[in-house]
């Protein structure tokens, strides 16, 4: 059993077969998207499936970019994503540090209150939040799209854990003796050391924000601030208007494919951090 590893046993062959099937299962839908996006409409409306588009056309992509404010949506998505990440880190880093290192009254209570944002599902306060944004005239604004995700205390939790477990107190004490203020400690000592936790927080917030559907769906009405998922779902896919107003799947798939390029490329390059993030923090959107 142990020595004859060189020989190929039927068990190993079976495992490789399973591995291939698994890879195909997760790959094929993506190939369907790619293949369809280069087809002409008439070819997509055939009852037999062809993998290679004949003729091969870029028309669907041209149509998506010409006909819809696709670039506007993409820029909006980038603005909202970058803003959400910045707002999250800006509020969570000092808060995470305070919970990790400072002593103050009501600390446990406040920390428990933060964790509520992770436990309470968004829908439980979404209608009321909508009313609030409506009153504050913050619907259809970028900041209005950034705030709900930034309120999630996941990053605070992550930073606090990391500071407690990984950053030695001695360095901070030494800095304090040298007359460094807490803000100085935060930016000069903690910030450079917290990079792994920061990477996780940035990555997860960014992916979540980029893919976020529910809140932008209700908080945007015009194309001015509409993000990619909403623009695609409402304008291109026409999910609310029914099949009659939906453009052909060739165009729909071209739009879908364009929208996933950034996250997919980022994921391929940053996979290591992504996996580590899930393992250490355990977070799903």
């Amino acid at each position: 059993m142990k020595k004859n590893k060189k020989k190929i046993s039927p068990g190993i062959v079976a495992l490789y077969v399973i591995l291939v099937i698994v890879v195909l299962y997760y790959l094929i839908p993506l190939l369907v998207m790619v293949s369809t996006s280069f087809k002409e409409e008439s070819e997509a409306l055939k009852k037999t499936w062809e993998w290679i588009p004949k003729p091969f056309t870029f028309e669907n992509y041209v149509f998506i970019i010409d006909r819809y404010p696709f670039l506007r949506w993409t820029i909006n998505s980038i603005i909202v994503t970058v803003g959400t990440v910045a707002l999250t880190c800006f509020t969570a880093l000092p808060a995470g540090y305070a919970f990790a290192r400072l002593n103050f009254r009501g600390k446990n209570l406040l920390f428990t209150m933060c964790l509520l944002t992770i436990m309470i599902p968004f829908y439980a306060y979404m209608p009321q939040l909508y009313l609030l944004f409506y009153r504050l005239k913050m619907l259809n604004t970028y900041i209005g799209l950034m705030i709900p995700l930034s309120v999630n205390a996941f990053a605070i939790f992550l930073f606090r854990q990391f500071i407690v477990a990984e950053i030695p107190r001695d360095i901070e004490d030494a800095a304090k003796i040298d007359g460094c203020s807490y803000w100085g400690i935060l930016f000069r000592i903690v910030l450079p050391l917290i990079r792994p936790a920061m990477t996780t927080a940035v990555l997860f917030t960014a992916f979540k924000s980029w893919n976020y559907l529910m809140w932008p769906l209700v908080a945007t009405s015009g194309d001015k601030v509409k993000t990619l998922p909403v623009g695609l779902a409402v304008n291109v896919f026409g999910v609310t208007t029914g099949i009659m107003h939906q453009p052909p799947y060739t165009i729909v798939m071209a739009g879908a494919l364009l929208s996933i390029i950034i996250p997919v490329v980022l994921f391929i390059f940053l996979q290591r951090f992504f996996v580590r993030g899930i393992v250490t923090s355990g977070l799903k959107q």
């Binding site: 409306l45 002593n103 933060c114």
Partner: protein
């Protein structure tokens, strides 16, 4: 002196976050219950109607239907994603050639937006021209079903879509847990003559108990809130067979503008989900104590 400085610093460090927290989480959240006792269509002022929304809720067939759909979906998807996550984790943990590539492909769908993933699967499931039915016809199924247009198949079809789209999280968690099991345990068992099945049954499974509780609780809580896939793929149809609680909250609040009623559904849903999660945690911990 020192304590005073720390308190002051803490105040300034917490201020930015708690400003957002109070305004955009706490206030909306604590007004959930009061608003659920009102009738309110956004434009006017809320009118107190007592428990009317709740009595309406209990007589509302579509609420019970939504609750049934949600529980059915959640149970199904939790089982599928937990078992599949474990199996994929085990497969990718083996020292097979190409497993790094395989891992990338398995995890890839996870970063795709619900909008893109949902519409892709709607196309795959398309009754007439989708790839699934094209191949089914090719292998001799004369009239393959409309996966999303058949009320009986719609929810299972969305579960299958999720086995592609969102299993990655469970896979990674299981993979990490499996890598944490010391090799020596298996070697010792092998010396005692344990086969693969025995090793799985007596080493792997017991050691993954905590991981499984964690995966099940998270999966349950997330699936109970299913909305995006429904919104993109079925809009609750056919004949309300995929209307889930959160989808109902959404349409009640933003299509019918019945904020009070939507809040009442939210409140009930919230209680259900917290109870279910608590119950699962208790079960998980309890099982562990028995050991």
């Amino acid at each position: 002196m020192r304590a005073k400085v720390e308190g002051k610093t803490a105040f300034w460090f917490l201020l930015p976050y708690f400003f957002l927290y109070t305004l955009f989480f706490l206030i909306p959240f604590v007004t959930l219950i009061p608003i659920s006792f009102t009738k309110w269509n956004i434009i006017g002022t809320p009118k107190f109607v007592g428990i009317e929304n709740y009595t309406k809720l209990f007589g509302d067939n579509s609420f019970w239907k939504a609750l049934g759909n949600t529980v059915y979906y959640t149970v199904l998807v939790t089982i599928v994603l937990t078992v599949l996550g474990l199996l994929l984790g085990m497969l990718l943990n083996l020292k097979l050639k190409g497993r790094i590539f395989a891992r990338t492909i398995v995890l890839l769908p996870y970063v795709i937006s619900s909008a893109a993933a949902g519409i892709l699967w709607k196309w795959i499931y398309d009754k007439n021209f989708g790839i699934l039915n094209s191949y089914l016809r090719m292998i001799g199924v004369s009239s393959p079903p409309g996966w999303l247009s058949n009320p009986k198949l719609a929810i299972p079809s969305i579960v299958i879509m999720n086995s592609w789209w969102s299993v990655a999280f469970n896979t990674i968690v299981y993979l990490a847990a499996l890598q944490g099991i010391p090799e020596e345990l298996y070697e010792a068992a092998e010396m005692d003559g344990a086969g693969s099945l025995a090793k799985f049954r007596f080493i792997t499974l017991p050691l993954l108990r905590y991981t499984t509780v964690y995966v099940v609780v998270l999966c349950w809580a997330n699936s109970f809130q299913v909305f995006d896939e429904i919104y993109i793929m079925t809009q609750g149809g056919p004949v309300e067979s995929t209307v889930t609680l959160v989808f109902k909250i959404f349409t009640t609040a933003f299509n019918n503008f019945e904020i009070g009623y939507a809040s009442a559904i939210s409140a009930i849903t919230l209680i259900l989900i917290l109870l279910a999660s608590l119950f699962q945690l208790k079960m998980g911990v309890f099982q562990d104590e028995e050991k």
